[in-house]
């Protein structure tokens, strides 16, 4: 190895596997066999889908089974355990046509990880943690969610003792979908409350 300092900005010595991975990516991109933005997309698709799947199962069950839904709202910790998802104490809050719920952890980043994976980086940001409480509607607007004035917003502060998850509204036009198909519609953001579950695309 030469004493060249081109890699100076790497403050810690880089592992040999990491250098190999960068060399490989550079070669594959150059040959047109992959593209870095596609690699980014793959990573986020797998991280997003695999994380929130358990939570999505809970929500889909609640949508199709009113007794389960009642139990989930009454005692979420036990209800999620029924489906095999144990973990920290959980409370589930229900969105309705007049109430929209939003979850934050103002102190740090408490989050129902067993259900929806690791928190996204914005969830841990100071901006989100402070503004979600002070101006939730503005925050929601930035996430692309414009709520009607008739809809009240409730903000729930998760802690290490109790973590909140939102039960989103079941979108119109999903009456004929199976529970498994419903699972596929439910996103992490909807269970945090920064989005709603969109109606499935009409085409196809």
């Amino acid at each position: 190895m030469s004493g060249n300092h081109a890699g100076e900005h790497h403050r810690h010595p880089e592992s040999s596997a990491s250098v190999r991975a960068r060399a490989l990516e550079s070669l594959l991109v150059e040959k047109g066999l992959t593209a870095s933005d596609v690699v980014d997309k793959v990573i986020s698709a797998y991280e997003d889908d695999i994380g929130p799947r358990n939570g999505a199962r809970v929500i889909a069950r609640a949508w199709v089974d009113p007794a389960y839904k009642a139990r989930l709202l009454e005692n979420a910790t036990d209800a999620v355990e029924d489906l095999g998802f144990g973990g920290a104490l959980i409370a589930v809050v229900e969105n309705t046509p007049t109430v929209h719920n939003l979850v934050v952890c103002t102190l740090c980043s408490c989050y129902p990880s067993a259900l929806i994976g690791l928190p996204p980086s914005w969830y841990k940001s100071f901006a989100y943690r402070s503004r979600a409480v002070i101006e939730p509607r503005a925050v929601l607007r930035e996430f692309g969610l414009e709520l009607d004035d008739s809809v009240g917003v409730r903000v729930w502060d998760s802690s290490s003792e109790l973590r909140y998850m939102v039960l989103p509204m079941r979108p119109a036009g999903t009456e004929s979908l199976t529970e498994d198909q419903l699972v596929g519609l439910i996103t992490r953001d909807a269970m945090i409350g920064v989005a709603v579950v969109p109606a499935p695309a009409l085409a196809g």
Binding site: M1, S2, N4, H5, A6, G7, S15, A17, S18, V19, R20, A21, R22, A23, L24, E25, S26, L27, L28, K31, L33, T34, A35, S36, V38, V39, D40, K41, V42, I43, A45, Y46, E47, D49, I50, G51, R53, N54, G87, S113, A114, G117, L118
Partner: protein
């Protein structure tokens, strides 16, 4: 338009199963996620069958276990991926070695 994870990859079982915690994928370093993403992006383009990669991976794991190598899951994945690329004629061993040398010597430093 969002990409849907391929269940034959996400739900791999046995030796080749993806490392997880709480049901979620675990990457201990950024490069691990990059290598994972490269592999899957090229499988999506049908440059190889998933089973071809999986067999390479299982072989690497078995070999490392036999030799008592303390390598990690994704180090074995990286070995398996490089072998497959060379076997499929997508890259040559010489190209890989030359590019790696450019990176280790600092003559090249593409950031991803």
């Amino acid at each position: 338009m969002t990409m849907q994870p391929d269940r034959q990859i996400a739900d791999m079982e046995g030796e080749g199963a993806l490392p997880r915690k709480n049901g979620e994928l675990v990457f201990d370093a950024a490069w691990e996620a990059r290598v994972f993403g490269m592999t899957i992006s090229m499988h999506e383009r049908q440059l190889f069958d998933w089973n071809e990669f999986r067999n390479e991976l299982i072989e690497e794991i078995a070999e490392a276990e036999r030799d008592g190598t303390t390598s990690t899951y994704y180090e074995r994945w990286l070995d398996a991926f490089e072998h497959l690329l060379v076997e499929k004629g997508l890259l040559s061993h010489a190209e890989l070695t030359a590019r790696l040398e450019e990176f280790t010597s600092g003559h090249r430093d593409d950031a991803f």
